[in-house]
């Protein structure tokens, strides 16, 4: 026993090293669980306030570009106003609208931290639980996709951007509705990879890829990007293409968080489906 204690005391550095290394590796590989923990909630609050301060300063540098985008959006909205339409027959425009029900609500948020040069990139936004943000919500900019919320605190949230190893987006060709998966393989932040395009699908450079609406995160029809170039595989069963993202991830300043008002309903349906199939 005494020898054991002596041994432990003599070698304590090795044990400390192992303990710390194991602790950090466990944190790293279980980070999905950890991101939702109370500690993450607390530390997001602290890092958030530091990053918020720095973005308060740096946001002035992007004002010009933000104004430009806003003006464009304004013009688009103006052209959709009823005054912009010619009323051909007043009667025919009237209908009691029961066909449509509000499905998505948008929260505007400011990007206070962003990266594009890592293998796994995250953004921090200045909106959190108190504003109604929850995990797994989609984040978009205009009609282009950005990523999904992975961790929240009272006033901030972390968003996993498309530029991440764990990010897989279900998309489709706009012209023929063929489903594909979009991933990012690191390197250039403007280019992603379109996986496993069936052989029979005709690909053209410049084809638009939009979200398929198959996932719970994004509605259908948001812009992902356009085909930059592609390779016709000789021996495999699938072709591959490189996509140029519509979103400029390096200059994000204001984004919108999508709140799916029917998410509860969808989740319940999925749950009941799963339990009945067991």
């Amino acid at each position: 026993m005494r020898y054991l204690l002596y041994f432990l005391r003599k070698r304590y550095v090795y044990f400390l090293f192992l303990a710390l290394e194991v602790l950090s590796l466990v944190l790293f590989f279980n980070y999905n669980d950890y991101q939702n923990s109370a500690l993450a909630y607390l530390s997001n609050g602290i890092t958030g306030s530091v990053l918020n301060l720095s973005s308060d300063i740096s946001e002035y540098f992007s004002l010009k570009r933000v104004n430009h985008i806003l003006a464009e959006d304004n013009a688009k909205l103006h052209s959709n106003r009823s005054e912009a339409f010619y009323k051909a027959d007043t009667e025919s425009f009237y209908h009691k609208d029961t066909l449509y029900k509000l499905e998505y609500r948008y929260i505007s948020a400011k990007v206070i931290n962003n990266s594009t040069n890592r293998r796994n990139n995250f953004l921090m936004l200045n909106k959190g639980q108190n504003q109604g943000v929850e995990n797994h919500m989609g984040v978009i900019m205009g009609n282009r996709i950005v990523g999904q919320v992975v961790s929240i605190s009272a006033h901030f949230c972390w968003v996993m951007s498309l530029l991440n190893k764990d990010s897989k987006i279900s998309g489709k060709f706009k012209n023929n509705n063929q489903l594909v998966n979009i991933e990012w393989n690191g390197g250039n932040y403007q280019l992603g990879e379109v996986k496993e395009i069936p052989k029979h699908v005709v690909i053209n450079i410049g084809d638009t890829i939009i979200t398929s609406g198959n996932s719970d995160i994004f509605p259908e029809g948001l812009l992902i990007g356009t085909i930059d170039h592609f390779t016709i595989a000789q021996e495999e069963n699938f072709n591959y293409a490189t996509i140029r993202f519509s979103t400029d991830f390096n200059s994000l300043s204001f984004v919108e968080v999508l709140i799916d008002l029917m998410r509860q309903e969808k989740d319940n349906l999925k749950k009941s489906f799963k339990s009945s199939n067991r």
């Binding site: 304590y12 550095v13 400390l16 090293f17 710390l20 290394e21 602790l23 950090s24 590796l25 466990v26 944190l27 790293f28 590989f29 980070y31 950890y34 991101q35 993450a40 530390s43 602290i46 890092t47 530091v50 990053l51 720095s54 740096s58 931290n113 990266s115 594009t116 040069n117 890592r118 293998r119 796994n120 995250f122 921090m124 992975v150 961790s151 972390w158 190893k165 393989n185 690191g186 390197g187 250039n188 932040y189 390096n250």
Partner: protein, 171 residues
């Protein structure tokens, strides 16, 4: 002793903020991400107890992780680097005694010593960090290139910092 302590705490905070607010926002193609914050571990004094060395490296790494939402990634790389540090120092010992309160520096230890010391430690850190980050061998050579280029940049910053502190340091 307390001044050394305070100096290191100040350096800790400064380097974390410098890394988070400045270096992480600099875009040098997709391949170069300098991690200059590990300069803190390089500069810890010779006489520091090894448990304190490991613990402070862990704290350094986990603090940076909190800012980039990669809990454990930088921490494990830093802990490994801190663990290796005493072995590197003893392997290149010049025979002369190191002053326990002093930090390794380009001026006191000489260019050859300091280059050897910092190159090995920076490479240990960057290799661990980048390969842990992707955690697959599919992009092996791309990652290798990223490690080398990023290490080069980190080392460049370390040497610039050393030369900048050159005249003020009294041995």
């Amino acid at each position: 002793m307390t001044t050394i302590f305070l100096k290191n705490i100040g350096r800790f905070i400064f380097l974390i903020l410098f890394q988070v607010l400045i270096l992480n926002n600099i875009q040098l193609s997709g391949y170069i991400n300098p991690y200059f914050y590990i300069y803190f571990i390089l500069l810890l004094p010779f006489g520091i107890p090894r448990w304190l060395l490991l613990l402070s490296a862990f704290l350094l790494g986990i603090s940076l992780d909190a800012f980039t939402n990669t809990y454990g990634l930088n921490a494990s790389a830093c802990v490994l680097m801190a663990f290796v540090r005493p072995f590197v120092i003893s392997s290149i010992s010049t025979g002369t005694e190191f002053m326990t309160g002093h930090s390794p520096s380009l001026k006191n230890q000489g260019l050859k010593w300091f280059a050897y010391y910092s190159v090995i430690l920076v490479l240990v850190h960057h290799f661990t960090l980048f390969y842990l980050e992707i955690f697959r061998f599919k992009e092996f050579f791309e990652t290798f290139l990223r490690v080398l280029l990023s290490s080069l940049f980190t080392l460049l910053l370390v040497f610039i910092a050393e030369y900048l502190s050159y005249p003020t340091k009294k041995s």
